[in-house]
Amino acid sequence: MRWGEIIRRLVLIPPTLVGVAVIVFVLLRVVPGDPIAMMIPPGASPADIDRLRAFYGLDQSIPQQFITWSGQALSGHFGRSISLHQQVFELVLARLPATLELALLATLIAVVLGLIAALIGTQVRGRRAEWLVDGGVGILLSIPDFLWALILLLLFGVLVPLLPISGRIDPEIDVSFHSNFYLIESLLTARFDVASALLHHMILPALALALPFAALLARVLKTSLAEAEDQDYAQVARARGFSRPKILLREVFPNALIPTVALGGVQVTLLLGGTVLVERIFSYEGIGNMAIDAVINRDFPLIQGLILTFAVLFIAINLAVDLLVTLLDPRLRHG
């Protein structure tokens, strides 16, 4: 990807976000489910209902509401949450780090597991052991993240209760943070006891997100390694007497990595989508968990803020992956 392409992609971000905002804004208001209807108390008269509707600005036409919201969004506010009574921007900023830390940990676990499985699978290619690796990868891949969450919850939360199954940190721990990146901050400030407590809470949800991702990475990388191993440069290295592990790591792996990184990037965005249910199951305080409540409560400003946040994340991740693939692939770098 050349500079021109990068600039073109950057220029397209604002109209993409505006498009997402318009679609979400209109859809929320035309699909059934009215936040005011949900908070009408017994005995409320039509005037009471109108008063509540006006209080939340829902008495205006959709275009008027959009103009009001756009003005707030441009000034960085994104409105006030109907159910949480706080600024949407503040709420999302407070919770996003929890999801990002979880997604980062899940990605790390997935990369490590996927890499190991792919290398072992390639090393034992053609042998019976390859079936074991392929079978294991198949099982990991066929079970979705939310089912892994339940399985892990029962295995390590109930059957062999080794790990906590809810929350981000023990309620008994008294600790203050300067940022909402609890894990990163505790590691940087060398508070390893706190980091350990946080990791204890994150392992199960991160593993639930990571397992299907790891399986996909393993499958793609293993196929790419097999293809790259049959290429001329690998054959030449073999003819020169290099050992198989050396050929795999030095010659084959860098070439096989490109399609894996490209697909892995897309998969990270899916992993972020998976946080919605997994965070719910483990009562983890990220934006995924918050998104479910926002939808249940028909909290329009919060839903809009959260979807825009997800959209920004997806765009940023895709752009970063494209840049990374360009860096890894000289053919793309030099046109």
């Binding site: 059934p32 489910g33 009215d34 936040p35 209807a37 949900m38 908070m39 009408i40 108390p41 017994p42 005995g43 409320a44 008269s45 039509p46 009471d48 209902i49 008063r51 509540l52 209080f55 159910s83 949480l84 009574h85 706080q86 600024q87 407070a94 919770r95 939310f146 089912l147 339940l150 399985i151 919850l153 029962l154 939360g157 109930v158 059957l159 062999v160 209760p161 906590p164 199954i165 809810s166 929350g167 981000r168 940190i169 309620p171 008994e172 008294d174 249910l277 719910r280 199951i281 483990f282 009562s283 983890y284 305080e285 968990n289 918050m290 479910i292 409540d293 249940i296 409560n297 909290d299």
Partner: protein, 512 residues
């Protein structure tokens, strides 16, 4: 009717199937710890202000509010009323004035005293249309307050017979005037101050709320110094929480799981009927304008079989919208299960199993235990007598919107809570035409219910509501199903006072 397997169904089935496997391997649940009480709670706490917005009218959140804040009037486990922050309350002889007496010695969590000015400010704020209080229409019926020592008097601007009952429930909390005005709404959300038995110590949204006992609390000292509400909204995860020993108490779990867990060593189960009923709204559109069809739909339902088979016996069949324990409950009104009578009623209108009357019934799926399965069973019972109902699944948000627009299907399943037990907040708002919650808009009921809103003679008022309930049952204008029973599972060594309003109040939990 779609047989598609949803993600939610898969979650529930997987959880339900896998949890029993854990039995016997490790018994993680142990005796309750001393000092800290951990409750696996079924909903998140959206907001700390108990008087504004969506969460203020969510009955499920009230347990947390009642731990932190004091209501004007207290409520006993059996729904009767008792002194709260107010020690006395009442009308004058002609119901034109109210008198309230504030408890002496009550303090806010910051140590400052609770004053009559706080009470008046809270009432005035609740009555202000700009405050966003959803119950403003009740609070606005009194005003012109005067303070004399700890006694507050006010004018009745419009008579509301349930005013003092409301003072024990939704949005009826006294907030600290000086503190609130100093920090503002958003500051209060970040650091709430109340006068209840517990004060906020730490809050991680969607994860947990940690409370510490308020040393200056006017009431009995709570048994636990620290209380943690863990927000575990998924029922399978709540079961895992109690089974793993991560929490001391949980509730609102599937009845099958309740039966399994209470048999495990280290855990105890207790149940109590609560002020929440299952019902089917009937909308006054075709074919429900036909009295025979309505009555047949009522008589064809075997409520006992539904409770026994689907709810494992955890429910109490009811004949009106007044459950046992409510002020206007009348045990003489009976709902008979009589499929033959249903058939003969339908025959009078030209319907039979071969030529059934057809309509749609709406229901939620997974919002309440076995809601969809219950409606499936009812549709099966109806089919036998000559009613062919098509099930339409909707979300609860859609139900509220359709109900407010008077656009529900001819039959629509719902659950109705009435924590103050007054007939006006059950039969009244559910069946009075002008109410946005009413599906039956018929003039017959408007004429019967209308005069009861302003009735000042309490005995006459309650008798009036009983007569309305009897009339509704005779006309079949709603289908009351059963009163819910709340399953609570907790560790041995705890003593829990279950509340008829369904609240789990940590101040009423002690070590046995």
């Amino acid at each position: 009717m779609s047989p598609a397997l949803s993600r939610r169904t898969v979650l529930q089935l997987a959880g339900a199937a896998a949890l029993p496997l854990s039995s016997g391997l490790f018994d993680a649940a142990q005796a309750a710890p001393s000092g800290t009480l951990t409750i696996a709670y079924n909903v998140n706490l959206p907001s700390f202000d108990p008087t504004v917005g969506l969460s203020a009218v969510n009955p499920t959140i009230q347990s947390i509010y009642q731990s932190i804040f004091d209501a004007y009037v207290g409520q006993a486990p059996d729904l009767s009323f008792k002194p709260g922050l107010l020690t006395k309350w009442g009308w004058n002889a002609d119901h034109t004035k109210i008198t309230l007496e504030l408890r002496k010695g009550a303090t806010w969590h910051d140590g400052s005293p609770v004053t009559p000015e706080d009470v008046v400010w809270s009432l005035q704020r609740a009555a202000d249309t700009k405050s966003g209080n959803p119950i403003q229409f009740v609070w606005s019926k009194v005003g012109n307050f005067k303070i004399d020592g700890n006694t507050i008097t006010g004018d009745v601007l419009e008579f509301e017979p349930t005013l003092f009952k409301w003072m024990a429930f939704l949005t009826a909390f006294v907030l600290p005037k000086a503190y609130y005005e100093k920090v503002g709404a958003e500051g209060f959300e970040k650091a709430p101050v109340g006068s209840g038995p517990y004060k906020v110590d730490a809050f991680e949204r969607n994860a947990f709320l940690r409370l510490k006992a308020h040393p200056g609390y006017w009431g009995a000292k709570p048994a636990f110094d620290t209380v943690v509400f863990k927000f575990v909204t998924d029922p399978t995860s709540r079961v895992a929480e109690i089974e793993s020993g991560g929490s001391d108490i949980t509730f609102e779990i599937p009845y099958e799981e309740f039966d399994r867990l209470k048999a495990k060593p280290g855990l105890v189960g207790q149940t109590k009927p609560v002020s929440d009923i299952a019902m089917i709204f009937i909308t006054d559109i075709d074919p429900m304008l036909d009295r025979n069809v309505r009555l047949a739909a009522n008589h064809a339902i075997d409520k006992k079989a539904i409770v026994d088979r689907l709810l494992k016996g955890y429910g109490v069949p009811i004949a009106t919208l007044e459950a046992p324990g409510y002020a206007a409950f009348d045990p003489t009104i009976k709902a008979t299960y009589d499929p033959e009578l249903a058939k003969s009623l339908l025959a009078k209108s030209g319907f039979s199993p071969e030529k059934p009357v057809k309509f749609t019934i709406q229901t939620t799926r997974g919002f309440k235990p076995k809601d969809y399965e219950m409606i499936q069973a009812i549709v099966g019972m109806w089919r036998k007598v000559g009613i062919e109902a098509t099930i339409e699944v909707y979300e609860i948000a859609q139900h509220f919107e359709l109900r407010a627009r008077h656009a529900l299907a001819p039959a629509a399943f719902y659950n109705w809570g009435n924590a103050i037990g007054d007939p006006s907040t059950s039969t009244g708002f559910a069946m009075f035409g002008p109410s946005p919650h009413c599906a039956w808009k018929g003039k017959d009921l408007v004429e019967r219910i209308g005069p009861l809103w302003g009735e000042k003679d309490e005995a006459k008022r309650i008798a009036g509501w009983k007569a309305v309930d009897k009339y509704i049952a005779e006309e079949g204008e709603v289908i009351p199903l059963f009163q819910y029973v709340q399953p609570i599972i907790h560790k041995t060594g705890l003593k829990i006072v279950a509340q008829a309003n369904g609240m789990i109040l940590p101040q009423l939990i002690a070590q046995a």
